[in-house]
Amino acid sequence: MNKYLDDLFLYPKSWVDDDALGFAATARAWAEKEILANRLEYQQGYDTLFVEKRKKLILDIGFERLVLPEEHGGYGWNKPSSAPGILTVFTEIGRGDEAVAFIAALKYAVFAIMTMQPNVDTALLGELAPLYFADELKNVALILPGAGLDGENTALFNGRSVPVTLKASPDGYTLSGKNLRPLGPGFTADLFGVVCSDKGGRACLAFVPADAKGVKKGAPLKMTGLNACRNTDISLDKVKIPKSYLINREDVVTELYAWLNLLLGGTSIGGAMNFFEILTNWAENRTIKGKDIMKENPLCAAVLATVAEEIAGARLMAYSMAHIMAQPESWGGVGGSGVFTFAQMLGSRIQQACLNALNKGMELMGSAGYAKEWHVEKHWRDIKTIQSWLCGVGADVPVKMDIARYFYDCKEV
């Protein structure tokens, strides 16, 4: 490959300021040096190296603090207009390891709810930032609306079940819910961002420290991908949290989804771009039919083109999403129905495009596509895991219903 990824996969550069480009370069350097340079070593020592490399990025480089306001030790990126820059950075991290980017995305999205202008919640930040942005790694997992169980009647968020209920108590709130499937590192989580329903049935976001009384974790689950961020089912048995640990403003959940779609979009695009690099190298060095270089065979070239096309298209969609989020004034806020709908719509298309790039490209690699030593199958499993988790339940139906509500004013779907 004799071109830089950014020269191949065009995007509206004018939307990304120098500050962001600088940080993206740092993230790229981290990925190159810490992970891509010693792929096999990283794969074989994954369990331990995963933590080490994350520490370098998050603690040494201080990447996590991007979400914080300056007065809480951040860099002043806590405004929607930074969305394109944030996307750029997450793409670079995802290129190194989707799992690293994924865990970071969850934490970023949850804290964005209390740090993004105009909704900076200084009081809550004052309590949480010191605890969860200190000098060791702290993980956040989410409890999102999703599948309900037949027979149980739960409150709904756009049709999805909200299995956690919230009760007001004199000194705060009490949360209850059983068999909850977190999004993210449920087993190692230090803090849970929990979507729950108040007595009016409206969805809001509560913060639950993992060590709070009544939080029960199960055994770690075996998953398709993202195995480094070990997950498990949890239950909340009358867990008490202080009043300040609840954010119940209008649109808090839609806003959370918007950020997740953007950051996980960047994550998968980054992973897909690294796959593009591996595939390019493969296609330039394989011969088929005893003579042709693979990339010069028209059928293989067509598959290669589809891979590039899916990634390039996904990247443009992601920047369109970032641009729409970056202009809350024109589109009614990050949590507004317009931005939410487009984030859901583009978010699921981006994941599908990245996965399709992997699925198609692997067709050219034969056993190298699924042998661990080629580092392709991990991208494939990780992206599939992100993509299916983002569906929540019912494949793309809930997102289609979100779209139908916005474009056709459907009321009953």
Partner: protein, 424 residues
């Protein structure tokens, strides 16, 4: 639908024997494999958990005898008019539980089809090898060592290349073949097999099919060495490694048939592999339906079972509908194979048979990849969860799509047949 057995089969075509065989294998799957398969991935190197499933299937139930003539203690299925359909049913039932066990088992039979199945029975070799499998107290595996380091699946592209790219050589010295070369990735390598079927060339660089030789090599022959198993995304029950042949000497009569007929029987082996692959895929899809049915009946959207939501019903209906379609065309692929000795049928090395079966394999593979992916999405937060089994199949069936030349070779051989292309 009361049971997944209602998925369509062309009822007039099903052999009397098939129902019985399916019953036995169904019981094996439900008691000896499915209860353990969620721990197979971690067992990829040791096969501590996987081994007993093979023992029951191949030895206790005796399926490793199936292809051998009754005169030699086998079941004589190689002589049955239904052999392709029986192979399909085997592949489907075992594949429903674990496609890796299915491939390891079927590949054991695979190279032997060249010498055991009418009209090409080689009695001398049959007598030589039958006792190894028929009398064994433990599973005995075989492998067909096709792929070479360069060129991947070129070797399977006999239609265009006629073995031209083969670098594994066989030299006749007196009454022995001397085999040299390097093979990659065959199922049942890494020390698993007792016997290899080895495609070689007797004249490197030639695309004269008479220079193609299929030679049987016992794995304990001096000069045969195998590497450690590769770690893969799935299919833990199937071990793959490098194999080296360094001046390996076997008797001259260990060659399957001889000039010309070796190339033909090797060409004929491809439809066998394709039909079995299709069976693995539809078998896995039957299991997909079972697990998906449970999820959509017990989990809800808008507080109603997923399957009662018209839009979700549209998604899962398409998945089940595709399974029905795949099974119909998959079984027809098997019927095409079983027509080989009929007046109205064609020999399985005919380009029509090869093209049509390649096309069906390509179609069913794509549908499997698509529908397992879709099913994981229906499960959403539970889609990547091993407890639901679908993600395991999702990892495994991708391998089936990629092996034996993968998509591109299927596409080219189908196009070559349908449009009489001469240069692709």
């Amino acid at each position: 639908m009361k049971h997944f057995d209602e998925f369509s089969l062309p009822l007039e075509q099903v052999s009397p024997m098939e129902k019985h065989i399916r019953k036995v294998l169904r019981a094996w799957a439900d008691t000896d494999c499915i209860p353990f398969r969620r721990r197979y991935d971690e067992d990829w190197k040791e096969h501590k958990l996987i081994e007993p499933a093979f023992q029951k299937l191949m030895v206790d139930l005796g399926f490793q005898k199936a292809m051998f003539p009754q005169e030699l203690g086998g079941w004589g299925i190689g002589h049955s008019d239904y052999v392709f359909r029986i192979a399909y049913a085997l592949s489907e039932e075992v594949g429903r539980a674990d496609t890796a066990i299915a491939v390891a088992f079927l590949v054991t039979i695979w190279p032997l089809t060249t010498i055991l199945v009418e009209p090409h029975v080689n009695w001398r070799l049959a007598r030589e090898f039958a006792p190894w499998y028929v009398n064994a107290k433990h599973p005995v595996f075989s492998a067909l060592t096709m792929t070479e380091p360069q060129g991947g699946a070129d070797i399977e592209n006999m239609g265009l290349l006629g073995g031209k790219t083969l670098r594994t050589t066989a030299r006749l010295e007196g009454d022995e073949w001397v085999v040299n070369g390097h093979k990659l990735w065959p199922t049942n390598s890494a020390g698993v097999s007792k016997l290899f079927g080895v495609p070689c060339t007797t004249k490197p660089g030639s695309h004269d099919k008479n220079d193609f030789a299929l030679i049987f090599v016992p794995t304990d022959t001096p000069g045969v060495s195998e590497g450690n198993p590769y770690e893969k995304a799935g299919m833990a029950a199937d071990k793959n490694s490098d194999i080296w042949f360094d001046n390996v000497r076997v008797p001259a009569w260990y060659r399957a048939h001889g000039p010309g007929l070796d190339a033909q029987t090797f060409t004929e082996i491809i439809p066998w592999g394709q039909v079995a692959s299709i069976g693995f895929l539809t078998g896995a899809m039957l299991n997909l339906y079972e697990r998906l049915y449970e999820f959509v009946s017990t989990r809800t959207y808008r507080n109603r079972p997923l399957k009662e939501n018209d839009a979700v019903a549209g998604v899962i209906g398409r998945i089940a509908g595709d399974i029905d379609i795949c099974r119909i065309v998959g079984y027809e692929a098997a019927c095409i194979g079983d027509r080989r000795n009929k007046a109205y049928g064609l020999p399985i090395h005919d380009e029509e048979v090869i093209g049509k079966i390649r096309n069906i394999k390509d179609f069913v593979s794509d549908k499997a990849v698509e529908n397992f992916g879709r099913a994981m999405d229906v499960l959403g937060a539970y889609g990547a969860d091993r407890e639901w089994d679908i993600e395991k199949h999702w990892r495994d069936i991708k391998i089936i799509q990629l092996w034996m030349g993968g998509k591109q070779l299927c596409q080219m051989e189908a196009a070559r047949y349908f449009f009489n292309c001469t240069s692709i």
